[in-house]
Amino acid sequence: MTSISQDGDRDKLRSVSVDLNNDTPLLIDIPDALCERDKVKFTIHTKTTLNSFQKPDFSVSRQHEDFIWLHDTLVETEDYAGLIIPPVPPKPDFESPREKMHKLGEGEATMTKEEYTKMKQELEAEYLAVFKKTVQVHEIFLQRLSSHPAFSKDRNFQIFLEYDQDLSVRRKNAKEMFGGFFKNMVKSADEVLISGVKEVDEFFEQEKTFLLDYFGKIKDATAKAEKMTRSHKNLADDYIHISATLTTIAADDNEAFKSKACISNVCVCVQKLEARVASDQELKLTELFRYYMRDIQAAKDLLYRRARALADYENSNKALDKARLKSKDVGQAEEHQQQCLQKFDKLSESGKKELTSFKARRVVAFRKNLIEMAELEIKHAKSNMSLLHACIEQLQSN
């Protein structure tokens, strides 16, 4: 069981969400989370001035599945078709640290006690980082909803925040899972099909190519960044082993290696710093990329919905033409065509707004993260430097 209190990391966690909570009547945060086996229970705390809520201040406990449910209902709501629906947070993944922990347990015999403890600490730190990250992405999801004028008034969202019982969302069964998968397939096939539809608005045309391109790139960058941070972590782990071995050698109280004791200490510190560099990189850069990858996916979905509407509109036009030709059901067809046009126009309008704001948001988020990352890198490098400096001086003096 792991329980964390997030107060210390508040500002850090907000970094990706770009201060969505400013001046909103709805303030949401996740101050606490509890991990039981593979279930994570998030405590969601809401502060509000809205009348639609019974109390101004309340907390509920939610699971990851509840978030998925909320997201799905939002996606399914027709009215939100013209909006970028915030991407659903990824499923908490504690598998990799767990697996590592398991491996470590197996390899215990081959390591010195000290080394083992250090490795364990390192893994615990990693586990904690994953945990924090999970909480963070869930929080951001809610904050984005709360900061959006339309979503914040959504009934389901309010229920999600307020209902103090277990939501008891039914888990998706296998059929539904398959159905979802199938739906996805249809969607992507459809995407290909309607891509042939001639775009009427240049803005969307541009936006579409840009997003497609950008999505590919950012996906690539995310993968690469992940790889990079992973190897950085490996590097940090190596320092653990080296320092442990140096300590054992120094423990042989061989005079030649006395100096090594302090080097081993330095190694530990270097390792800690390297690990921090790696995790900060992960947090600031990789997470940023990952988040925007999902966000772009959401934007793409919006475009898809719009394109769908466009296709529908054109189909209805065709149908209207046919009806006129046959002078049969003209009124119905006309109505349908009007509906489609309306829907499409509405989608286009709100989509344009959404995409523009998305762009601005992305730039701001990138800026913030990049600055923070650069600052952190400098900070770590500096502390690393002073450490090395001290060690060199110590070595040279004795």
Binding site: A221, K224, S231, L235, L246, A256, L370, I378, A381, I392
Partner: protein, 686 residues
């Protein structure tokens, strides 16, 4: 001349020479002119009661050399204790043969000529004329000299036994007389073979002479080597008063010489010539007053010596084609050590030459318990790649790695005081062409033999059960073994560090490219700029990681690899000690058997065989004691070597680790620079 010159202070000199010059013939000993003169100087120093001379001459040298020479033999010991001045002058010639081995003749002649030229300036031409003739005479009368030396030795011994009262005057005089014959011939024996230019002899001669106490004599030699490098002119210019006296002295000497018999003449020369190296060391020693600090000084000097000899291996170059191709390296030596032909030496050597050097050295020195630094290992795979001639990164890296390893190897060899003296080392550094080292090939017959030898060694090692008499060795061996293990482990880890860092560097490069792509498709100009900047930063960081990985490897991992191999050599020297012990034990067993056989014969009453058995016992007793001595000697050497190794190791590790940390520091600095440059770019995103 010997006696005056050690006394570098100008005033006592004057006393010595100005005072008694008139009464050489009155000297009680009055043998030859040369002797007289010396006696005179000795006597004069006594007569005048020159305290500085006394002290400088008697006590200081005593401290100086009694230590190192203490083991050299009974005779020398009497000298040191009773006749400090003798030692003093004796010492430099002792060191002479060593440094002169290569160019003994030159060495002697040069300074000598200088001096004589000085004297000719003053119009004493006869002296100069003698220089040449003396060189010729040297050879002819060489044997005579030895005889003389022996005679004089006896003489001197007698003299020492004279009552103390007389000793004050006489022994001193006689010592001076004895010393040229006694000692300088010795120097000459070294010099002679050198002039004959028979390749090996000169080299062997000094080693033979001093093999017994390489350690004790060597430091002394070193002490002498350094100051000797200073031109003798220095001494005279340094001490103004001395200069004119010298002239006087020579003038007098030459006058006498011209009257004297050639033999004396020659002797005189002998006395003068080797005296040349004397002034320098003596001035240096007498000027550095605190003589008891001798050992520390020597140590310091040893350290300094290391800087005097700078070896670098550069310019790896492929020679030939196909499977016969090999890499040649340029080995350049920079040195101020006089044992080398010149200050700058450059030769080209191939890898197998290095291996050959190692083979020779280990054959010669490791049975004596020395730690012979191992040469880098052969790498058939790496070399084949180079041979195939692909100019790819890995083969470049291989060559560079090997070059660095070879350089470190040579530096280790020359930093070893006794290996430095090895003629093979010098030959390796100096000689233009080396005979091809064949036995180093892995697949040759010699290689096969080596493998068999190793296998038998391993077997015998397992079977030998040594009951250790000295706890120190036991503990050390254990220490070495556990250290070896730890170092191996550490080495593995550092290797994985290197690999991970390389991986990181590759990943960073890929990421940089990906970010650059992202930047190119970003439609916000400022952000796009920032992203491409980020890509650039990552690119640089990639380079940084790559460099750091190289540093990890070359500074840290290679250091560990070297020491793992060195620890192998340390273990080998422990093995050698064990072998010596085994020989001794076997000898004892044999002796025991022989004795038993004798007892049996005695009992069986077979007198005819008894004699033979007795002879055998005698022979074996001799051998056993020889083996025991060997064992003790090897033990002592091993102990000394291990101490030295540890000191070296500490220093090496400290140096390398500081270097490594500095490289880390440097990368961090660069990192800060890069990110700081990036920061405004990120802030500029609007």
């Amino acid at each position: 001349m010997d006696p005056p010159l050690p006394v570098s202070t100008s005033e006592p000199d004057k006393d010595i020479f100005s005072g008694p010059r008139a009464e050489p013939l009155n000297n009680p000993l009055s043998e030859t002119a040369a002797e007289q003169l010396k006696a005179v100087s000795g006597a004069s120093s006594k007569a005048k009661g020159d305290v500085p001379v006394e002290e400088a001459g008697s006590e200081e040298p005593d401290d100086l050399f009694s230590d190192p020479l203490g083991e050299s033999g009974a005779e020398l010991e009497t000298h040191t204790s009773n006749a400090p001045l003798l030692d003093f002058s004796e010492e430099p010639p002792k060191s002479d043969p060593i440094k002169k081995a290569a160019s003994a003749d030159d060495y002697i002649k040069k300074p000598q000529k200088d001096i004589f030229e000085e004297s000719t300036e003053d119009g004493v031409k006869a002296a100069a004329a003698h220089v040449g003739s003396v060189a010729a005479e040297k050879k002819v009368l060489h044997t005579d000299l030895f005889g003389d030396g022996v005679d004089d030795d006896e003489d001197k011994d007698d003299l020492f036994k004279t009552p103390p009262g007389a000793m004050m005057k006489k022994p001193q005089a006689s010592l001076f007389r004895a010393e040229p014959d006694d000692i300088f011939p010795e120097a000459k024996t070294e010099a002679k073979p050198a002039t004959k230019a028979s390749a090996k002899q000169p080299n062997n001669a000094p080693t033979d002479l001093f093999t017994e106490e390489p350690f004790t004599v060597m430091p002394a030699a070193r002490a002498a080597v350094k100051p000797a490098a200073i031109p003798s002119a220095n001494t005279s210019s340094k001490t103004n008063g001395l200069h004119s006296d010298e002239e006087d002295l020579f003038a007098e000497a030459t006058v006498e010489l011209s009257l004297d018999s050639p033999r004396n003449d020659r002797r005189k020369r002998d006395a003068m010539k080797p005296s040349e190296p004397v002034p320098c060391p003596s001035t240096s020693t007498s000027s550095s007053k605190p003589q008891p600090k001798k050992l520390e000084e020597l140590e310091e000097e040893e350290k300094e010596d290391k800087f005097d000899l700078n070896i670098s291996v550069t310019n790896p170059e492929k020679v030939g084609d196909g499977m016969n191709a090999y890499m040649a390296y340029r080995v350049s030596t920079q040195t101020t050590l006089s044992m080398f032909r010149s200050k700058q030496l450059t030769v080209r050597r191939r890898f197998s030459d290095f291996l050959g050097l190692y083979e020779k050295l280990s054959e010669k020195h490791s049975p004596n318990g020395y730690i012979v630094p191992p040469a880098p290992e052969k790498s058939i795979l790496g070399m084949t790649k180079v041979k195939v001639g692909k100019e790819d990164l890995s083969s470049d890296e291989f060559v560079e790695r090997r070059r660095a390893a070879l350089e470190r190897y040579l530096q280790r060899v020359v930093s070893h005081p006794s290996l430095l003296q090895d003629p093979d080392v010098r030959e390796f550094l100096e000689k233009e062409e080396l005979p091809r080292a064949v036995s180093t090939q892995a697949l040759s017959g010699a290689g096969f033999l080596k493998m068999i030898n190793k296998a038998t060694d391993a077997v015998s090692k397992m079977t030998i059960k040594m009951n250790e008499s000295d706890v120190w060795f036991e503990e050390k061996l254990q220490e070495v073994e556990s250290e070896d293990q730890q170092l191996r482990k550490l080495h593995g880890m550092v290797e994985s560090l290197v690999n991970h860092r390389k991986e990181l560097s590759v990943n960073t490069a890929v990421f940089a490219k990906s970010v650059a792509m992202l930047g190119s498709s970003e439609d916000n100009t400022a952000l796009s700029r920032a992203l491409s900047q980020l890509a650039e930063v990552e690119d640089r960081i990639e380079q940084l990681h790559q460099d750091q990985a190289a540093n990890d490897f070359f500074i840290f991992a290679e250091l560990l690899a070297d020491y793992i191999r060195l620890l192998g050599a340390v273990r080998a020297c422990f093995d050698q000690r064990m072998k010596a012990w085994q020989r001794w034990q076997d000898g004892q067993n044999m002796l025991q058997k022989k004795r038993e056989a004798e007892a049996k014969l005695l009992w069986a009453n077979k007198p005819e065989k008894l004699q033979q058995a007795k002879d055998e016992i005698g022979e074996w007793e001799g051998r056993v004691s020889q083996y025991e001595r060997d064992f003790d000697r090897v033990s002592a050497t091993v102990r000394k070597e291990v101490m030295r190794f540890e000191k070296e190791k500490t220093r090496d590790f400290k140096k390398q680790i500081i270097k490594y940390l500095q490289s880390l520091l440097h990368s961090e600095q660069q990192l800060i620079k890069y990110w700081e440059a990036f920061l405004p770019e990120a802030k500029a995103i609007a």
